[in-house]
């Protein structure tokens, strides 16, 4: 069954929907849903524009090339931002005081300044007049350098794809999670050789809660590997090597969530990652990060992703692990519409919106597969231009690996039938451990069989008008519209507080990281945002 030739080089991917629409949703309803999402989301965008966070400011420094850590392992970006915050506050951003101090002190670079700042030897001020102009110019020059590197990475990705090939959809997405980058690399390369198109290096537990990004290559994560700039670089280099060997570009994914969402986005851009988990609410709901903090951070991080040509993956699938997949189906749709609104507002093209959803209905429920098809078709048709990310069953995977293998096959079938484009490969041992080498190999065999046997069926599935699939899809859309109306009226923050998503309550002032949120003052200066807001406008116009 293993057919290495399975990944024959594909021609250029065709644009537009993977499968023709089949539910025939009422365009007026769809339009109303989008409009409600925009109304519900706009106050959040306004809040995000009016605030900055410590991580946004650190990301500015990282984009200007600051890296490294002090003797205690604390990143220099943290040292510099903390020192500026302590002396003059961050209401006007870190850039003005930092570059002013750089120029005044005659430092060779930001790292030298940060070390002095950490030692309490640098003094900061908010410059005015000529000094401010000089600081701004210097900061802009530094950021232009960072963005030149990001643009070059984007071009290098295109060149690599041209040199190798872009695999056909659905892209096969596999997770590695040993905790040790040195183990991850051979596992990722092995997975690519076995057919993975996308490798996700899942992060260690607890990284979300760190208010800094660890430095260097790491070997000690729990159930995942730390996201660091060096780990990113090592893995991308390893996948470049295997992409050349296979004649197929293997994409790399990591996770921009938690307290350092903007910085991780910056590092991903600098090291040419290809996809990033980036959800507007995941960190709030599943890591108890403060809602305001996450919603502000997600905007900046998505602007960076947009510039870097990175495809984001949103996390709606997770809601169905704490909520019931049938009862909560409409919350997935609502969240996708919000993620789409926030994503587009931040400059992401539709082709960069890997909206997430999942096959998580209790398999004991009668007609569960029909309901799954209804949900998957609905998502497909609501977001025709988005490369949807479809997650396999997790919650109902038990110790019965044989039954699990069957369920995964049905998931794969639903994926090919409904034209999902990023397929996270389900593991029969999901209910037991992070995957063994053989689990992954068997899972890929499952995908290959289904794709081979039934891939051609996609165009033929036509739910009977008025039948169960058709009715269920419409019902979920109706419920989603109703919920969106409520959210628009009560506000997204209070909807989150009430446990609307994943039946988890998160009050606006609870959770971690609120102390890192700062209201911008007049004269706020952020040289990265200047460039990103510019490219946002361009991208928006190009759409």
């Amino acid at each position: 069954m293993s057919k290495p030739a399975d990944h024959a080089p594909a021609g250029p991917r065709q644009a537009g929907p993977a499968v023709p629409p089949r539910l025939g949703l009422d365009p007026a309803l769809v339009g109303e849903a989008r409009q409600l999402a925009a109304q519900a989301g706009q106050p959040i965008v306004d809040m995000a524009r009016a605030h900055t966070t410590v991580s946004v400011e650190r990301a500015v420094l990282r984009l200007a090339g600051l890296s490294g850590a002090d003797a205690d392992g604390m990143p220099l970006a943290n040292r510099l931002v903390d020192a500026v915050r302590e002396q003059v506050g961050l209401e006007r951003g870190v850039a003005l005081p930092a570059w002013d101090a750089l120029l005044r002190g005659g430092y060779p670079d930001l790292a030298a300044l940060a070390l002095d700042a950490a030692a309490g030897k640098a003094t900061f001020r908010v410059p005015a007049g000529d000094a401010a102009r000089a600081a701004r110019d210097a900061a802009r020059r530094a950021l232009a350098g960072g963005f030149a590197r990001i643009d070059a990475n984007r071009a290098a990705r295109e060149a690599m794809i041209a040199q190798t090939s872009d695999p056909p959809k659905p892209w096969i997405y596999l997770i590695v999670a040993t905790g040790d980058i040195r183990e991850d690399i051979p596992q990722a390369q092995a997975a690519a050789r076995e057919g993975a198109d996308v490798i996700a290096v899942i992060r260690s537990t607890g990284q979300s809660l760190l208010d800094y990004v660890p430095e260097g290559a790491t070997r000690e994560g729990y159930a995942g590997t730390y996201a660091t700039q060096e780990n990113f670089r090592l893995m991308r280099a390893a996948l470049d090597e295997v992409s050349r060997e296979l004649g197929r570009y293997v994409r790399l994914t990591n996770y921009a969530s938690g307290l350092c969402m903007p910085e991780i986005a910056a590092l991903a851009a600098l090291e040419r990652l290809d996809m990033m988990l980036n959800d507007s609410m995941y960190g709030i709901i599943f890591r108890d990060i403060n809602p305001r903090r996450t919603l502000i951070d997600q905007r900046f991080s998505r602007q960076v992703h947009a510039r870097a040509g990175i495809i984001i993956n949103t996390g709606e699938d997770n809601y169905l692990t704490t909520a019931d997949a049938v009862d909560g189906a409409h919350t997935v749709i609502v969240s996708q519409l919000l993620n789409e609104f926030f994503g587009r507002e931040a400059g992401l093209a539709d082709a960069q919106l890997g909206l997430g959803h999942a096959f998580e209905i209790n398999p004991e429920l009668p007609d569960s597969f029909l309901l799954e098809l209804a949900h998957a078709l609905l998502v497909r048709e609501l977001f025709p231009g988005a490369p949807l990310k479809y997650m396999p069953p997790t919650k109902h995977m038990t110790g019965n690996i044989f039954a699990g293998y069957l369920l995964d096959a049905f998931f794969n079938l639903a994926a090919v039938l409904t034209g999902q484009e990023i397929l996270l490969v389900g593991m029969m041992t999901e209910g037991i451990h992070t995957p063994f080498l053989s689990d992954r190999d068997l899972a890929l065999e499952n995908v290959r069989y289904v794709r081979n046997a039934a891939g051609g069926l996609a165009g033929s599935l036509r739910p009977e008008p008025g039948g169960l699939i058709d009715r269920r899809a419409r019902q979920v859309l109706d419920e989603a519209i109703r919920l969106l109306r409520t959210i628009r009226d009560q506000g997204l923050l209070s909807a989150i507080a009430e446990g609307t998503f994943g039946i988890t309550r998160r009050p606006p002032d609870g959770g971690r990281g609120l102390d890192g949120v700062i209201a911008k003052a007049d004269g706020y200066f952020n040289p990265a945002s200047e460039i990103l807001d510019g490219s946002t406008i361009q991208e928006g116009a190009a759409r």
Partner: protein
């Protein structure tokens, strides 16, 4: 006594048939490598007591590994009379009985604090035990009138948990650990015990749970009780009563030094 000695059952009584799958770090690219790999698999199966053993499937995983499925016959006998089960040392009670026993023994509500500690963010398991909604058709501890539940959620620092437990004069601390990779659950349990100190008067009952915990490890880890996969809230409530509210009143409630509270 017949029926006490058994063997695995394939399709005939006593045939001893079992199946097994594993991966060996050996290549099987060439015919010679394949033969060597299968021989290696058979050697392992033999040492594990499968005789005869048959490799029914061998597949290369990349250039360096081979995956095997093996069927075989084991000669071993299982003596049911020698099987040790950590039998439930407590009686399973209905919620009304639990409430009664608490009232009789403590004269106040029993205070339970729950959390997932360390960096583990899984809450579904502990919520299944604590929340009214419950699990497997049984209501959670919040439903019990005589139990006061404080659910701190996930990613809780053990020091914070200990401080809160002292402030609330908790009778029992319920901790969930779901991530087990690299023994994360064992490290965190040891950290928990270190934060609360050794068992004895003044320490609340320490109860941990999670799907990959071995209930037999409680003593070794220094906790009072471990619950594994499929635990139901009623089992936990019954255990708490068994441990903290001996029949006929008693003063086990003084364990956490809470006698003063009405």
């Amino acid at each position: 006594m017949s029926g006490q000695i058994i063997r695995p059952y394939g399709d005939t009584t006593g045939d001893g048939r079992v199946q097994l799958s594993f991966t060996l770090p050996v290549p099987s690219g060439t015919a010679r490598q394949r033969a060597l790999a299968e021989g290696a698999a058979l050697q392992l199966a033999g040492k594990m007591g499968l005789d005869p053993a048959m490799v029914v499937h061998a597949k290369a995983i990349g250039p360096d590994f081979t995956f095997f499925i093996v069927y075989g016959r084991v000669a071993h006998l299982v003596d049911l009379s020698a099987v040790m089960v950590a039998g439930r040392e407590f009686e399973l009670l209905a919620p009304a009985e639990v409430n009664l026993r608490i009232r009789a023994a403590l004269g106040r509500r029993l205070v339970v604090i729950g959390a997932t500690v360390g960096t583990d963010a899984h809450t579904v398991g502990i919520d299944a035990i604590l929340n009214v909604k419950g699990h497997a058709g049984e209501k959670g501890l919040e439903y019990y009138r005589e139990i006061k539940v404080i659910n701190l959620g996930s990613q809780v620092d053990v020091a914070d948990l200990a401080a809160r437990a002292a402030a609330e004069r908790a009778d029992a601390v319920l901790v969930s650990q779901v991530v087990t990779q690299r023994d994360a659950h064992l490290h965190n349990t040891r950290a928990l015990v270190a934060a609360f100190g050794p068992p004895g008067p003044g320490r609340p009952l320490l109860v941990v749970g999670g799907p990959r915990f071995d209930p037999a490890m409680a003593a070794g880890l220094g906790v009072d009780k471990i619950f594994g996969k499929g635990t139901t809230p009623r089992e936990v409530a019954s255990y708490l009563v068994h441990a903290l509210c001996p029949p006929g009143g008693g003063t086990a409630g003084a364990r956490a030094g809470t006698g003063a509270r009405a």
